[in-house]
Symmetry: C2
Subunit: 329 residues, 2 copies
Amino acid sequence: MAVTIKDVARAAGVSPSTVCRALSTPELVRAETRERVQRSAAELDYSPNRAARGLITGRTGNLGLIVPDLGNPFFPGVVKGIQARAREADYAVFLADTDEDPAAEAQLVRTLAKQVDGIVLCSPRMSEQELRGVAALTPVVLLNRRVGRLPAITFDNVDGMRQAVTHLTALGHRRIAYVAGPRASWSNRERVRGLRLAIAAAGAELIEVGPVQPQFDGGVAAADQVLAAGVTAVIAYNDVIALGLLSRLNVRGIAVPAAISVLGFDDIALSAMVHPSLTTVGLPMKSCGRAGVDLLLGLLQDPDRFGSTRRELGTQLMVRGSTGPAPSA
Amino acid sequence: MAVTIKDVARAAGVSPSTVCRALSTPELVRAETRERVQRSAAELDYSPNRAARGLITGRTGNLGLIVPDLGNPFFPGVVKGIQARAREADYAVFLADTDEDPAAEAQLVRTLAKQVDGIVLCSPRMSEQELRGVAALTPVVLLNRRVGRLPAITFDNVDGMRQAVTHLTALGHRRIAYVAGPRASWSNRERVRGLRLAIAAAGAELIEVGPVQPQFDGGVAAADQVLAAGVTAVIAYNDVIALGLLSRLNVRGIAVPAAISVLGFDDIALSAMVHPSLTTVGLPMKSCGRAGVDLLLGLLQDPDRFGSTRRELGTQLMVRGSTGPAPSA
DNA sequence: TTGAAAGCGTTACCAG
DNA sequence: CTGGTAACGCTTTCAA
């Protein structure tokens, strides 16, 4: 088997207790002893068994991370942020992909709960009730969703929509379509809310299309309705839908942005790579991941912290090639 | 704290030993007792602490997974395959993203080794020597790389290139460019090898450009050289580079595939979403992940298995809009 | 068929 | 400052 604390103790001629101290609380050990132990540990390439440690300390040094679908280009950025922050804090990360199955989410939390100090739930699809249920099992941080007082990191979708609408109306657009994402999606609801606010403030007109699946094909399917609505601009629930729109518009020979402007949401890597490149509302995905881990670690240190356990991250409109002046303007 | 085996034992009026047996080897327990225990366990929502179990059994029920960069659209598919297969087998998965840092890879293996039964290394960037070193620490399966006799799942890059070249020469192309990926990349070397073989067999002419970074900007950077080489078709090391090529060609007003055909490799989700859509060599990424886990689990059951510990997965050319007849044909 | 006891690798506590 | 001992939650002999 692997090298244990006893091997190090033997090599250094001390007791396991001393090895433990020399490595975790060096100041409690005489310099000479400490160095001898550390040298032995290094020579044997010893590192403590975290599972065994967790058994007694009650802390595993592990985090859980549950995402609905890694194939959705929105998530990898968030996951990377989480990974990076967790590694800095010397935490290992369990990752589970639920394939968009709400039931699997709850099940996975239950399974992981025993092995982790806390769990980050990325855009969870389960019901509010279930969410509260699992939050009772283990410390939990929500990403991209807000439910009651549960700790959460979200994006300012409302302001993102304000930026989007402001951009379009400044270009002279008055009739704007929105291709909606899933009804059950928290972020879709937020985006619709922000959209209506901004449209009303600008005195513009909103035509809602959908909802469609937040996939490429959802955008393809919505494109003809958008066209039929006689709008000069369309905002999609997310970039992937917007790419579908772009594709179908291209097939139908509609020029973007000459005939119609297209605007996405999320700023996935792809949106800068297509032609015309996609104007979109950028979300700081890595920061979101980092902030989620920060919040979770904070919660672990001080479970009943006074400070806010909810944070909303700012967004930034990325103006690119798919939006331009309204045709009649 | 959470509910332990003792709580169940107390509730069922038996000893912890019996609880353990009733749950893991039910046939060794009298039916009546067994049911009582199982009912108590269910009522208390008990599930064994896997870390504690691992301590004694030597098996953790955890797998490690190390990837260079989740942001690279090649990896999420593989990760999903691994996730799915691992979950079926009731394994939890530690995920680590190394940000393309070879040193981090080795370090992470060392850290994870203690907590997992084995590790899947996805397209590892570290040297062969390091790879052999970490393989001595814990059971390891390589994905998308082959080193000596180490267990590995790879794609048949050589045949993929044969398909690509066959497609292009059938369309009448004789002068073909290749935009190379990183020199250090195993799959780039394999692809070049297959390419040269196929080009020679077809009696065509190959112009090698690069190497470039396997990024969008790498493709953008290579496009003008490709154009200057006076070829009628170009194969990119991967889809992301191909998208960069497409973008730059578009900017320069070169029609694809009318003036030049573009062919990618990997079949990332994006390649079907752009216009023109990208002809590319598809790799079964999810299968690769699943196969990797299967291999690892097999190895764990039977460490010195006779059967092959290396598997090569077939590829399939996906003909789409970015390739067409050679201009002069 | 069941229970007691030992032990996995670690840390925490209490003597010394 | 150091060592012995107990304990974490579980599984696995070994006896009964």
